[in-house]
Amino acid sequence: MTVVVVQFGGSNCDRDAVRALQHIGIDATRVWHEDGLNDSVENLDGIILPGGFSYGDYLRAGAMAAHSPIVNDIQAAAERGIPVLGVCNGAQVGCESGLTPGAFTTNDRARFQCETVHLRVENATTPWTEAYEAGTVIEIPIAHGEGRFEITENEYEMLKNDNQILFRYCDASGNITDDANPNGSRGNVAGITGNYDTVAVLMPHPERATLPELGRSTDGKGILQAFG
């Protein structure tokens, strides 16, 4: 039982993800994208698309990695029910590849936002959020220049109706406000699921809020426990 963290050229949160998973007792290994998924591990238990700047963000963040051959393997695994999590650049890859709807694009204030944010848990019935109560406020760091969630009006309505919104940016009390929105995301959306509850993307970094020695919060642990 192993979680594969897929490493593209320019990924830089792959080691962090492996460390964080191992810290909570989950076996994890990095796999170079060209080595493919199926030959790399015996018992695939989950997949993380990590943060970073794959292909130097050429064309659009995540666009190149989304069309690399390993993504076909990942899509097939997702259809078999294997949990897939895209974090930050991995979230951009997830949307670009169609694993999840919408797009993550340039922050509204044309700035790289690197800070700890508050997130409100919207739907606590998914594997990614069942460690929390709905409405709970958690603290997780973000670090991105292209994290503004955009989606067509129709698709946004579908996301809401199907309870696909996992987290929204909020203030410390859980209020969804413009001031608490670090990048101009529609509806303060920070993370969503795809066609399956087992596929999720989010801009905040749970792997940076799991090891107690790394910062003030270990709130990200609950998200990674989906792989347990």
């Binding site: 064309l59 666009a63 694009t105 340039t106 509204d108």
Partner: protein, 91 residues
């Protein structure tokens, strides 16, 4: 088969915020230019061998649909011109 150059212009859909264009507009104003509005776009010039301009345009459309544009946020347009062979290259 003839050579064509397909020009694919990818721009944000109207109504989608363009912080890069807005920041550029403000920089132009700091330089003393009066700017009513500014839009940015990406332009790709793709040389394609095809039987006809229509077929070259269809291929460029597919490229835009599958990679060059993101349909969630972008519109795109394709124009095709028969390729002018640079002097000195093989005919």
């Amino acid at each position: 088969m003839r050579m064509y150059t397909a020009t694919v212009t990818v721009r944000l859909k109207s109504g989608v915020l363009d912080p890069e264009a807005e920041t550029t507009r403000r920089a132009l104003e700091r330089l003393g230019f009066e700017v009513e509005a500014l839009r940015s776009a990406d332009r790709f010039e793709v040389d394609i061998e095809a039987d006809s301009a229509e077929k070259a345009a269809t291929r460029a459309d597919e490229m835009a649909e599958r990679l060059l544009a993101n349909p969630t946020i972008h519109d795109y347009e394709v124009t095709v011109e028969q390729h002018t062979v640079p002097s000195g290259s093989q005919q």
